[in-house]
């Protein structure tokens, strides 16, 4: 049987080579019997972990990978079970997903959209991955999310903070557990008003790309609502390493707050430059000068060292959070790797468990079933407290942390202290909010591929 198939297809292929195949599109239409892309048929199911292993966010990526491996262990019933013990949904039994052992493949996004898509494609086309998780940049997340939508697999975003991921670029097959720039603004504003008063003059330095703009837009909107004045917003090239020339004008502008819409190495450098210019000990308009870094991470805090003392920012998760899920996760992660998990590690861990749980509850790996199971799903016990996966835009809604660089850190890991846990109601917005694509933004249809 296979022999006759071979000759027929060989013939068709040759005719395609001759150029005649172009006129016969039906030859190539999907002929496989599978109901959806990469339907697992054996005793195992493959997940794809696509994280930056080289490039500016390599540290975040390696932390994400550790968390993902831990999640796979827990799903397969190895180790101490981690958050399976505290997760409010009890569908997962520690015997893999739907009885199939969980395996994984890894890839390097290089924090480049092209490389990330190539690596995700190879996982889908070659290794048969049914879900892609990870990433540490919004550009990459949006690019890979689009790819997964086209290919018909589920994308569980890792660290991506720009509004667009679940805003104008939202996709039916994509889900984001991490918080976003709007939430940062909404959570920070009351704390800023409290600590700095309502008549401040802010000066923004913004990384000149998509994420920077959405964050600047969000912070400007929420601080101006407080009564602050925005003196100036300056875009800095992403590749800059020295920000001195951007700091000098701040001193002469009459601003008394500097907002750094920077991330990773950029933030470490711009903050260090600001400290070198002794901004924090200056008095402007009769007030102490302040610096705000809207998006924090442990790895950035470690990089900036002494300089972050007293600087305010926001986070999705911090290992010092005192709830059952968080304590359990920190324990599992700490026992295995000898350090507390970062922000990005936690979001990837939670995303893997959430995906697995959705498959169990849906009773299938079919992306459309998974989408249905995740939409409007309310859960707790993964470290962030009660959380909702909103159906309209596939964004998680949960409490947001406002943190400050610790004045007297006792060890290498407690560089940040939690100032306030902003309740979820305060950071919730309408799905058709203008910063999120307005009424034009739609998820589209879920795509099972095949």
């Amino acid at each position: 049987m296979s022999k006759s198939n071979l000759t027929r297809r060989g013939l068709l292929r040759n005719s395609a080579i001759a150029g005649a195949g172009i006129a016969m599109p039906t030859i190539f239409t999907a002929s496989s019997a599978a109901a959806y892309t990469n339907e697992p048929t054996g005793s195992s199911v493959t997940l794809g972990f696509n994280v930056p292993q080289t490039g500016p966010y390599a540290d975040e990526g390696s932390d994400e990978l550790l968390a993902q491996q831990l999640a796979v262990e827990h799903l397969n019933g190895e180790g101490d079970g981690g958050c399976l013990n505290t997760f409010t949904s009890k569908a997962l039994k520690g015997n893999g997903i739907l009885g199939k052992k969980v395996e994984f493949v890894t890839g390097d996004t290089q924090t480049k959209s092209d490389a990330a898509r190539a690596s995700a494609k190879s996982m889908i086309e070659k290794d048969g991955a049914i879900m892609i998780n990870g990433g540490s940049s919004s550009g990459v997340a949006v690019a890979v999310q689009g790819l997964c939508q086209e290919a018909g697999v589920i994308f569980m975003a890792g660290l991506t903070h720009a509004n667009d991921t679940t805003g104008k670029d939202r996709k039916a097959n994509g889900f984001r557990h991490f918080f976003n720039a709007y939430m940062s603004g909404a959570a920070l504003a009351p704390v800023l008003a409290n600590e700095m008063g309502k008549d401040r003059r802010a000066y923004h330095l913004t990384a000149d790309y998509n994420w920077g703009w959405t964050q600047e837009e969000s912070i400007v909107a929420s601080t101006e609502a407080l009564g602050w004045e925005t003196v100036n917003t300056v875009k800095t090239p992403l590749a800059s390493t020295d920000f001195s020339s951007y700091i000098t004008p701040v001193l002469n502008s009459g601003a008394d707050v500097l907002v750094l819409n920077h991330y990773g190495g950029n933030m470490v450098n711009s903050l260090s430059n600001a400290i070198q210019f002794d901004l924090l000990s200056k008095q402007v308009n009769g007030k102490d000068f302040k610096i705000v870094v809207p998006l924090y991470s442990e790895l950035m805090a470690a990089g900036a060292g002494e300089n972050i003392k007293g600087v305010l920012g926001s986070m999705n998760y911090n290992w010092q959070l005192d709830n059952e899920g968080s304590k359990q996760f920190v324990k599992s992660f700490g026992e295995k790797y000898g350090k507390p998990p970062s922000n990005s590690a936690q979001t990837c861990y939670a995303q893997v468990l959430l995906y697995a749980d959705a498959c169990e509850r849906a009773g299938t790996f079919n992306p459309c079933g998974v989408v249905e199971a995740l939409e409007g799903f309310e859960f707790d016990g993964l470290g962030n407290g009660p959380t909702l996966y909103r159906a309209e835009d596939h964004q998680c809604f949960k409490d947001v942390l406002v943190v400050r660089g610790a004045q007297n850190p006792t060890n290498a890991y407690d560089t940040l202290e939690i100032v306030e846990i902003t309740p979820v109601d305060q950071v919730t917005y309408a799905p058709n909010h203008p910063m999120f694509g307005g009424d034009d933004a739609t998820l589209g249809e879920c795509n099972p591929g095949a």
Binding site: Q53, S122, G139, Y209
Partner: protein, 401 residues
């Protein structure tokens, strides 16, 4: 045949066979074996092989023939990609208009950059092209993607949205790049025993275009025009003294190779409708130089081999992680297993650059003519064994220094 001599025609046949049988050649291991890790016969990577092959063939027309080393060729690749996606956005998902426009715009770009850069030669030319490419990168990355005038969509990459005009898009056509209804993603799978082979429509489109471009490049190499370009490389000053103005020739070569790069960029977008600014970064420009030198600059088939090698490393070696290594060496006793993994790990996974670097050094030092020279040496070795004293000449054109 086809205006080629016998040797070149045979070479064309070899390239055709390699390209058309790639799904078989690149999947030598059964899909359930441990060695399946090294299989490269999946659509995305095969497409990359031929697309970057086109890119390198075009680069070789400039670098291999005239010796002008352009460090900014990625700019044309990027321009091509953006043009193609814009056609998708405005006209619809048929790939032909996109590919055509990408060749035209990159040609215009190459002409403009060429008339400025070609006023200088040698290192100054390289630096000028590099500067232009980095300028294009900066423009695409941030300047031309501000909310008021969004041409490139910045870091996120240009992509097609549901509210784009797409005036020729019909309801029956697939919602993905297609050629008159034939989706570029359509893949036919063939199962023979434990082996699985994938035939992808997009790949075959790229492969056919690559063969055509390879043929065109042979014709350019063998034409009087190609001879003139070689003359520029060997002694430009003497050319000037004989009263010949070399610049129109170098400009033509520059534009042709820019159009090749644009075509490659257009095909990249046609296979995957997203154009990112990183395609224009200097690392991408450097990559094509590496490909050409690895394979053998100035030879016909060298650039294709070089691009294949680099893309293979980037996609296959980078995916070997420590878990995979532990699986391989699990037959060894515990201590030895860990030792082997520790020894090999720095060279695979995220360390694939290291392996590539070592290999590049070895090739440049011991095989200055690249992979093609390696092949020739092996061939000569066998010939010498057969008939000891035959004075054989190099079968391919002489590689560049």
């Amino acid at each position: 045949m086809l205006g080629l001599n016998k040797k070149d025609f045979n070479l064309l046949l070899i390239v055709m066979a390699l390209a058309l049988l790639a799904p078989f050649l690149l999947n030598p291991f059964p899909s359930d074996s441990g060695l399946a890790q090294f299989n490269a016969g999946y659509p995305d990577l095969m497409q990359k092989f031929v697309i970057f092959g086109i890119f390198a063939i075009g680069f070789n027309i400039l670098f291999g023939l005239t010796g002008y080393l352009s460090f900014g060729h990625a700019a044309f690749l990027g321009v091509g990609s953006y043009s193609c996606v814009w056609m998708f956005k405005l006209l619809g998902y048929n790939v032909l208009p996109g590919i055509m426009l990408s060749v035209v715009t990159s040609g215009i770009f190459a002409y403009l950059i060429g008339i400025v850069s070609l006023r200088r030669s040698g290192i100054y030319f390289s630096i000028l092209t590099l500067a232009f490419a980095q300028m294009s990168f900066a423009l695409a990355y941030s300047v031309l993607s501000n909310p008021k005038f969004n041409l490139t969509n910045g870091e996120t990459g240009l992509q097609v949205y549901a509210d784009d005009p797409q005036i020729f898009h019909s309801a029956s056509a697939p919602d993905l790049p297609h050629l008159f209804g034939l989706s570029m993603r359509a893949t036919e799978k063939l199962q023979i025993g434990a082996w699985e082979f994938q035939f992808n429509a997009g790949y075959y489109l790229c492969a056919i275009i690559m063969i055509a471009m390879f043929y065109l490049s042979i014709r350019i190499f063998r034409s009087p025009f190609g001879m003139m370009l070689r003359a520029i490389k060997s002694n430009n000053t003497r050319m000037n003294y004989t009263g010949l103005n070399a610049r129109p020739y170098t400009l033509a070569a520059f534009v042709i190779s820019g159009m090749y790069a644009g075509l490659a960029g257009g095909l990249l977008s046609a296979m995957d409708p997203l154009a990112g600014a990183e395609r224009m970064q200097w690392t991408a420009s450097g990559e094509v130089v590496l490909m050409t030198i690895l394979g053998g600059a100035g030879t016909l088939i060298g650039p294709v081999l070089g691009s294949g090698l680099i893309k293979y490393f980037e996609n296959i070696f980078s995916k070997i992680n420590s878990t995979v290594l532990h699986n391989w060496f699990s037959f060894l006793p515990e201590g030895l297993e860990d030792l082997m993994v520790t020894l090999i790990y720095p060279f695979v996974g995220k360390g694939w650059h290291l392996t590539l670097g070592v290999m590049f050094m070895l090739i440049v030092i011991f095989l200055p003519g690249g992979l093609v020279e390696g092949g020739q040496r092996v061939k000569r070795l066998f010939k010498r064994r057969k008939s000891s004293d035959t004075d054989d000449e190099a079968t391919q054109s002489t590689p560049a220094e």
